[in-house]
Symmetry: D2
Subunit: 268 residues, 4 copies
């Protein structure tokens, strides 16, 4: 290694009298001019989004920001209870629950739709009949493989997730209803023919489809769910400061612990 | 504990046919209607911000989103290099650097200004002379205690941090130049009389002052810096995907390691 | 920066045919020869501990490894529930609760005792009467300052924490009952004269005293509590795999959520 | 949910006058009696290990504790630099790199060997010829699938990883050289016949084989690597306190940043 390595970034940079972000003067061209959703999109793609792209993106972030007492919310509250000196630790702990099960559907669904589209012979369909045929083949293939379809089904919103039609409508209004949303919608239409029952297209899934249609990097779809959730977890912490429940949650687990002393299954 | 504990939240909630966020219908009243910065403010305060409050808040987030190859950015890239299966881990690791030194100035400055204002006899001043007098007493007291003034000084922007006048101007435009910003500005005017040299009011500090003037919870000012940085770290990951440097950074450390074998200071 | 920086470490190093750890041949001199507690001590101090030092250190680790359904244990189980693909995330999330409140007493107590000893005029006492006098002055000073004494008091073990006399006895057996433990024991003897009631010396506190007497770095006492807890959290995960309760804990919080729809305190 | 849920754990429990760990009196039967490696094994399996099992387990932990300036070590140092108030954050950040690439080989190799053994018709072989035949079929199948064999190959120790024969010898000495190690050793013997070149059996892989032979849960093999690494990261922090290099590492990246101002690839 004869030479020192040089590292490049097109994000933040500074010199004594100037700070740039994404190649623009931070103080004059970004602060006060660029909204936070718009900026997050821009940072992720290094392409400034249009007003419509920003609106769809922010609708996705709103859909994913907070779902009440999820495991991630409970984790953030309990970590803050235990280590109130470290807000960053409480937020990081909550985000660590953003994995395959609770926040992963968004990414899984976006990647799944993208894979199907990439492999579709002759390119993506051009009419509803074409979409239905592709969706039908897709659902059949999953069923034959014994695998479920990402984004299909919800344990609470059994008759329909209200986020799904709303996000599709927003994307359509902004001219951003692209192939991922089209395929997802078609899956919603045709799957009962294969599965014998109607399942809802869930909100996490439609968010993945919309993010993929926006051209955001598939590897980071989970990251956008985490960005949304960061705002939600700050909300959870703010509420915990005003109306604390973390200690009650802890005690409800600890005091309902059957093993206080009697050694429930004593190891050999 | 005779009864089951009941936990309350006013954030996200859902029933089979409805999802609410902050007491509003998520699909109809939030998605497509509320920007992400606005939503983050709302979640943190449970008060919907005005357009001006949102603009100041988003200007702060822009100022803090990314500062290039900070320790947090390097940490996120190295963690992704090491565990690419876990985007949440890479983001969480980066956020864990958001503590007292690199991201803490925002919170420290907001709290410091608030403490001074709370203790000011007769309430906050009403004119510039009053602000200057309070600032002078404040800087003197810090100097006598051998402590520096939070938000004062910057290792790069020695002649002025361009974010500071810009954020003050935005706050003033929106009618949100409150007592924290007023005190901070006064500190900027008077400190040379005490310290014998002129230091810049830094960008992290002015962000803390502006957030405090917005009425955001002081305990969570660091949290907003972390929210901004989450967007920046996603940008860092997106760039790492396109132009990876994490492995070069790792190797530049590892291969410049003097201890490969010769046991530099052999323990007893 | 004309030259490349060079970084030194005396921990792990390797060349094509040899791996060293702490300056010793890893395969021949460490593996199979050095226990894990001994190695952890050695890594932290770069001094190989004696058999007695190792025994006291491992007794501390045993005392801190697991305390049942603490917030950290609940957090690890819920994070695993939510992101089972990332064991590292579940462990990291649990450790993030190891802050000032739940795991911090060990560090606080060790630092506190060390500060008192450092400031004691004429050096540490040489007999019990001297220790009692120092302890008395210490407890009085804390009381006058309105602050409690770290390591004193326990919400469950009101009549005595069984770990405390046991750890003191082990340290004494090994000739490692040093000034921190002596001061802590004296605080246990004299505090009722000041406080008017007898409080137990708690286990977390005595661990801090013992670690300080072992000469471990005070800045990292919390780190040893976290090392112990890592073993405990792996135990919690192993148990969760065999007898899962994480989902029940989550549901007990979520289903006891009063805010499912009725908007408990609707924001303006 | 008519009744309060009850949660069980066989790990830590306490009543006012007694603390138990794994069903034993913590103070009398565990502290001073049980080493830390032994305890970690016991917590993970709820079976107290024999002296030989503990020795093999601790040899694995020694092999994985620290490998110098790995990404995880750099991350822990940089996070501590940035947030020195949170030791737990610095350790957690380092552990988050313990994913698929750098610490994952141990788990991958253990699981892989287990899968092969589970699927072997007629049960595991009983002599070297049988092991070689199974290994040969295994390596061939991987090669035909275009996949590499977990645990085979090392970028530095090309002529042999010294940890591998040592760990096998220790396991043999303790009568714990079981089927996973036998298969791994056979892969080492036969793979050149398939691959046309000799690759080393690496240390991370042999650790996975040994942990699997110890009967530890396969889902948590990565967890033991993380436990070992926690001790290593505490060592890295202790060294950083004495001989700091974190800031130099940060500056070497930041100052070698080509993008300070000239906007390297200006976004549109």
């Amino acid at each position: 290694m004869a030479d020192r390595p040089v590292y490049r970034t097109a994000l933040g940079a500074s010199s004594p009298d100037r700070i740039t972000l994404l190649g623009h003067d931070l103080a004059r061209e970004v602060m006060g001019e660029v909204g936070f959703g718009e900026l997050a999109f821009w940072l992720a793609t290094q392409r400034r989004p249009s007003r419509g792209q920003t609106r769809v993106f922010e609708a996705v972030l709103a859909a994913l920001a907070d779902h009440g007492f999820t495991p991630t919310a409970i984790v953030t509250r309990l970590t803050y209870l235990s280590a109130p000196d470290s807000v960053q630790g409480a937020l990081a702990a909550g985000l660590l629950g953003g994995g395959s099960r609770f926040l992963g559907v968004t990414e899984d669904c976006g990647r799944f739709l993208h894979d199907v589209l990439t492999r579709a012979e002759g390119g993506p369909p051009t009419d509803d009949a074409g979409w239905d045929a592709l969706a039908l083949a897709t659902v059949r293939a999953r069923r034959e493989a014994g695998r479920f379809v990402p984004g299909l089904g919800h344990h609470v919103h059994k008759d329909g997730d209200p986020r799904t039609p709303r996000l599709m409508a927003i994307a359509a209004e902004e001219g951003l209803f692209g192939p991922h949303l089209a395929l997802f919608a078609a899956i919603g239409r045709v799957h009962p023919r294969v599965l014998g029952k109607r399942l809802p297209l869930n909100g996490a899934g439609v968010c993945g489809a919309a993010l993929a249609d926006l051209g955001l990097p598939l590897e980071l779809l989970r990251g956008f769910a985490l960005l949304a959730r960061t705002a939600g977890l700050i909300g959870q912490l703010a509420e915990e400061l005003r109306h604390p429940v973390g200690n009650d949650i802890f005690l409800s687990v600890d005091l309902n612990n059957a093993s206080v002393d009697p050694d429930p299954y004593r190891p050999s």
